[in-house]
Symmetry: C2
Subunit: 261 residues, 2 copies
Amino acid sequence: MRILITNDDGIASPGLRAAVRACRSVGDVTVVAPATQQSGVGRSISLLEPVRVEEIEIEGIDALAISGTPADAVLIGAFSIMDEPPDLVVSGINLGENVSADITTSGTVGAALEAYGNGIPAIAISQEVRDARARVDNNAKDVDFTLAIRVLKALLETIRGVSWEGVLNVNVPDPDRWNGEIKVVPLASTMYRPRIEERYDPRGRRYYWIDGEIIQDPPEGTDLYELQRGSIVITPLTTDVTGDLDAAENVIKELRRALRG
Amino acid sequence: MRILITNDDGIASPGLRAAVRACRSVGDVTVVAPATQQSGVGRSISLLEPVRVEEIEIEGIDALAISGTPADAVLIGAFSIMDEPPDLVVSGINLGENVSADITTSGTVGAALEAYGNGIPAIAISQEVRDARARVDNNAKDVDFTLAIRVLKALLETIRGVSWEGVLNVNVPDPDRWNGEIKVVPLASTMYRPRIEERYDPRGRRYYWIDGEIIQDPPEGTDLYELQRGSIVITPLTTDVTGDLDAAENVIKELRRALRG
């Protein structure tokens, strides 16, 4: 199995090294990942900027650090660096959970969706991090990837044996919180309530920080709920964001009349 | 009706001014938009960088140019600039169509999804542009927004009269290509086949351009197909990217066995 690994925390992330350790025992690994932290960029693609690359060694294998986004890494890796597209893209292991419909802002998930949108099966995998600061800190020493590595390895061995062409979003709780369950569940509708902080710099110029509070009572049976319970949660994803066609048709009937009139 | 307008082509875009002209006749307008071109950033949110703002006048009304993304503009506009969240977010009018499941990389659509994800109904509206260069050229003189303005105005008047809480993706063909039809259709699975160009700078350093070719034979009944036929195409969207749970459950059964063993 030929596996392209990327992430959104950047090439220096211990989570990327953990993904390499899990994948190399199961397949041939190519690593193309953003040079810098890209949290929150979703499925962003660099259309207006060229993407630079730099060669680097990770866990003893050659890797490419790119100036762009996780989705860029998938496109450049799969359609230029590799002789032919990989059998699988693995994105992660992300520092911090990626759950709820808010994951469309996640670069980890964005890379997986970009792969899937181009016909390549993909796994996005994220490690729950209870300390908010550790989520964007590649030097975080106390993140324990042992369970995530075990899950990823077993998942790779599983899908190697079946015909599977999807994209999975996997979240792994802190190993000491795991309740022993693996749940296949839908996304919660949202994880964060937005909180915007207005500030002024030393020269009196206004700026904003975008932040959010995690919702503490997610609906039962959703990924956020199950992760809070300590389950490993797995959600199959789709790139098709088509909504309720019948409801829209009702609104558009009026519009047709208005434009004819 | 209180309307927050944003876009992804940036504050200088003639499409943003066209949206203001359409919306101001129907409601109270607030404009918060990226200072610079943000095509391709999807639902990207600035989590690691502060967002700066600058006041500017557009079509005679006060507007804010921000240093961030379209989704940032929605969050800052709806949850900080405005006293309370708007009744509607309008994102566009984008220079260039946004069709197929590839729209999750569109900043225009990303802003609308960010609004919807936070409980605010939204319309993303894009004007077909046949000349690829004009898509990222805010000085493009020959883009005719007359039909798009007419559609947007009529749509605002329509939804003002009904209870509607969704998000619509609207694409308007060149006025001289309009076949008179308005179609409510699902997204095509993809619009582009990726094409990556490897180049070398004058100092011999490698870099890449990400590009793509538009697929010329989209499946019948999809948004791309209908837009190519000259229809106005409207697709309701969702932020819920949960895929096929049953198919995933089959794969995960194996995984459960492996992790128990």
